[in-house]
């Protein structure tokens, strides 16, 4: 059912005004709003990080007069830094912002399965964020983002409001996951079997499984903290016969899989980038697809590795250690496949690919240092030290956030119809990369020397590491701001983006940039998502066009209907 309409009409300019945005059902607009909200939260979390690093510039010798921040302020800042960066930034970053924007288009669909629930999910995100702000204004939060009982049930800060905020954010996340699973199951176009899906969709599917199964557990565990504070139910209170370690089990049952909610979609973005920017079919499609599902499954059985010294039984620790190593294998498979994809390709070093290559390095360090923490013997010493802090920043920031930036640059032309400038983008990436390593590599060493995490003050022997780390943090901050400025400048001076600037073969590129209100003027035919021979470079538009355009729509390649099912 094609109906002719004005070709200059796209999803950005079809309706105007704030209400047309906040009340929209369009997945693209919801994705874009998520993206700006996430960037705003990231700036707030980043400012907190800078203040934390300023405090740690020099030891205070136990004297509050020498400190930049008071102890209680410092404790609130690292708690909020963690809570904001995890619940408001990294967990929704790729799935809710990029996933929302791209997923239906990759399926050639007009929207996600439940547009109203999608809008509800974004509104819940705003409410959850508002509640976190309310908790800051009504006494702050100083529990650490982990909310460990009995500290969280006894401290005088505004814990109830904060856990309620996290609870609401959890439902935002659940609804996104629910929407994606149903959309992928029920709205794939004819011809797109499971193994014809782009790998980003496999990653989002695996992510969504974790979101719907693990997030409710966190939600209720946090509600029990609130109930404990309000009514003194005692389930985690040792004085009333409760067990604080039970809270840790419930918390990590969500929060370890949550790490894969952060990293799995990042891996999906990387799979797209490595194929597109090497102009080659992704290497080992099935292994990458299965490894996403394997990671999602393994993620549920490894939570106890956060608790090797918590007082859980030795046997439990041994079992969890063994299970934890299982996650290393699918992760390694993906990295090997990405590197192999570049072999004999035509490797471009455009900004998204530069971020993707940075992640090979950063995820290499983040993933491999995980081995030390999964190993029972070494974890005893490294647990709760700066080694852990550095490890999870390499995974959550170095891998997930850098992949988010890769994805933002990659899909930016499709989102806004303009090209950012390449060279400033590349330099910003390089600056961030250097700053990141300078910030966090010294933290590994502070950790192996025994500096515990969440310390307002430290033994003077740890000063050199903290000095370098703070300098690195400033450089990292500059790089990230630079990247943002470069993206924003494209609105004023960026050249008009072609439909397919990078030469990808997935369906979101088979429609003009920015996309029309209902994504496609003409339903695209489904081919192999990594068959780069479907498109060729066209110098006149500095972009790619189908080798054999469809007679009804020049953006869409003509695909033989009798393609074999298998991708090989």
């Amino acid at each position: 059912m094609t109906h002719a309409h004005d070709p200059s009409l796209n999803y950005l300019n079809c309706r105007k005004g704030l209400r047309s945005w906040l009340g929209t059902l369009d997945h693209k607009r919801i994705g874009v709003m998520y993206m700006w909200s996430i960037i705003a939260s990231m700036i707030l979390g980043g400012i907190l990080a800078m203040l934390i690093r300023a405090e740690l510039w020099a030891p205070n010798n136990g004297d509050p007069a020498q400190a930049v921040l008071s102890q209680d302020t410092y404790n609130q800042f690292f708690t909020l830094h963690g809570a904001i960066m995890i619940f408001l930034v990294i967990i929704p970053s790729i799935p809710a912002a990029l996933g929302n924007f791209v997923l239906p288009m990759m399926l050639g669909a007009k929207d996600v399965a439940f547009p109203r629930i999608n809008r509800l999910s974004y509104h819940l995100y705003l409410i959850g964020a508002a509640l976190l702000v309310v908790s800051i204004l009504t006494g702050g939060l100083d529990t650490g983002w982990t909310f460990y009982a009995p500290y969280s049930t006894t401290t005088e800060t505004s814990v109830v409001v904060a856990v309620f905020g996290a609870f609401v954010l959890g439902f935002s996340s659940i609804f996104t996951g629910l929407n994606f699973i149903v959309t992928i199951h029920k709205m794939r176009p004819p011809g797109m079997g499971w193994f014809k899906m782009p790998l980003f969709l496999w990653a989002l599917y695996a992510t969504s499984i974790i979101q719907i199964l693990a997030t409710p557990v966190l939600g209720l565990a946090l509600m029990l903290i609130a109930v404990e504070r309000i009514m003194g139910v005692g389930i985690f209170n040792p004085e009333l016969g409760g067990d604080p370690v039970l809270f840790q089990h419930l918390f990590w049952f969500y929060s370890h899989p949550a790490v894969y909610v952060m990293i799995l979609p990042a891996m999906g973005v990387l799979s797209e980038c490595f194929a597109t920017f090497s102009r080659k079919h992704i290497f080992g499609y099935r292994f990458i697809a299965y490894s996403s599902i394997a990671i999602a499954i393994f993620s549920f059985i490894v939570w106890g590795h956060h608790m090797f010294v918590s007082g859980q039984s030795q046997l439990a620790s041994v079992i969890f250690s063994a299970l934890t190593f299982s996650v290393a294998i699918p992760s390694a498979i993906k990295v090997f496949n990405w590197v192999a994809t570049m072999y004999k390709g035509s490797v471009s070093l455009d900004t998204p690919m530069l971020y993707a290559l940075s992640v090979i390095w950063l995820f290499g360090i983040g993933g491999l240092t995980g081995l030390f923490l999964a190993t029972l013997s070494t974890d005893i010493h490294l647990h709760d030290t700066y080694f852990v802090v550095a490890h999870f920043h390499f995974v959550m920031v170095g891998s997930a956030l850098f992949s988010f930036l890769a994805g933002v640059h990659y899909w930016w032309p499709k989102m806004f119809g303009v090209m950012y400038r390449e060279w400033p983008g590349r330099i910003a990436c390089a600056v961030s990369f250097v700053g990141f390593n300078l910030t966090f590599i010294p933290q590994f060493l502070a950790g192996t020397h025994g500096m515990p995490r969440r310390y307002w003050d430290y033994h003077p022997m740890y000063e050199p590491y903290n000095k370098v780390s703070t300098i690195g943090a400033v450089i990292l901050g500059l790089g990230l701001v630079w990247a943002l400025v470069n993206l924003l400048r494209s609105f004023g001076s960026g050249r008009q983006a072609p439909a397919n600037p990078w030469g990808a073969a997935t369906l979101e590129w088979m429609t003009p940039s920015p996309a029309p209100p209902h994504n496609f003027d003409f339903a695209p035919a489904v081919g192999d998502p990594y068959d780069m021979d479907l498109v060729r470079y066209d110098e006149s538009i500095d972009g790619y066009v189908p080798v054999r355009p469809h007679p009804d729509d020049p953006h869409i390649p003509l695909v033989e209907p009798a393609e074999q099912e298998d991708e090989q």
């Binding site: 439940f114 547009p115 629910l178 005692g234 009333l240 016969g241 039970l246 419930l250």
Partner: protein
């Protein structure tokens, strides 16, 4: 009887229906995970303190629990029947079944209210509650909880010698009641939501919104109601039938 409206992003009514149904099933999955937290807490404490749980369970009224179980089973049956009526386009049958479902649910909540207020008056609460008789320090138990109540008769404090009870046992009895109130309270909230959903369906049915081609909402509402019922089917034996 109206036709289902096809949203712009679906190809067919069947696809739209299948999608809604899958969405509901996944939502129910998250609900099960939600409750699982409390079931895990229950399992952990019961495994380590089986005796305390058996002891505490005697304070629950099995007859009232059984009555509630029957009410919910009946309401689940009428909810299923309502779906059938909607599929066949029988408006009166649909409305009647929805009404019975709501009445059963209200009956359930009434009995629950009775049980809660009884527990509250007897002080059968978790150790941290103000009116609890299972406080770690017997001196902190409110005097009015110790010595009977207006209706006469012995208080639980007296009849079960709570004052001289083994402190470790007392703590775990408190934990049992903590879990009891969390589990049944959370379930009760779900019943309340279910009543809201059934009333909404009733209102829509009265305005001829449903028919053989358009019964998705009734179907999904009933699915949700079956889950609420199913959770109670687990709660009843785990809490009431272990003494």
């Amino acid at each position: 009887m109206s036709q289902a409206k096809l949203a712009h992003h679906f190809e067919s009514v069947e696809q739209q229906f299948d999608t809604a149904k899958l969405g509901m099933w996944i939502f129910l999955l998250t609900e099960i995970m939600f409750f699982s937290v409390l079931f895990v807490a229950y399992t952990v404490y019961r495994a380590s303190h089986a005796d305390a749980f058996q002891y505490a369970s005697q304070f629950l009224d099995t007859n009232l629990g059984a009555a509630n179980t029957l009410l919910l089973l009946l309401s689940s049956f009428t909810a299923a029947w309502a779906v059938r009526c909607a599929q066949l386009g029988q408006k009166r049958g649909l409305m009647l079944n929805l009404l019975v479902t709501v009445v059963c649910a209200l009956g359930f909540m009434g009995i629950k209210y009775h049980e809660y207020s009884h527990k509250y008056h007897e002080g059968l609460l978790w150790g941290g509650a103000r009116h609890s008789i299972f406080k770690a320090d017997p001196a902190q138990v409110l005097p009015e909880m110790k010595h009977g109540h207006e209706g006469g008769g012995e208080s639980v404090w007296e009849s079960h010698h709570v004052e001289t009870m083994d402190p470790a046992l007392k703590k775990q009895v408190g934990i049992f009641f903590g879990i009891y109130f969390c589990l049944t309270g959370l379930h009760g909230i779900h019943v309340l939501v279910g009543i809201g959903v059934m009333l909404w369906l009733l209102w829509r049915a009265s305005r001829d919104h449903f028919g053989p081609d358009n019964f998705t909402a009734v179907d999904l509402g009933a699915l949700y109601w079956h889950l609420v019922d199913l959770i109670w089917i687990f709660l009843f034996p785990l809490l009431y039938l272990i003494s």
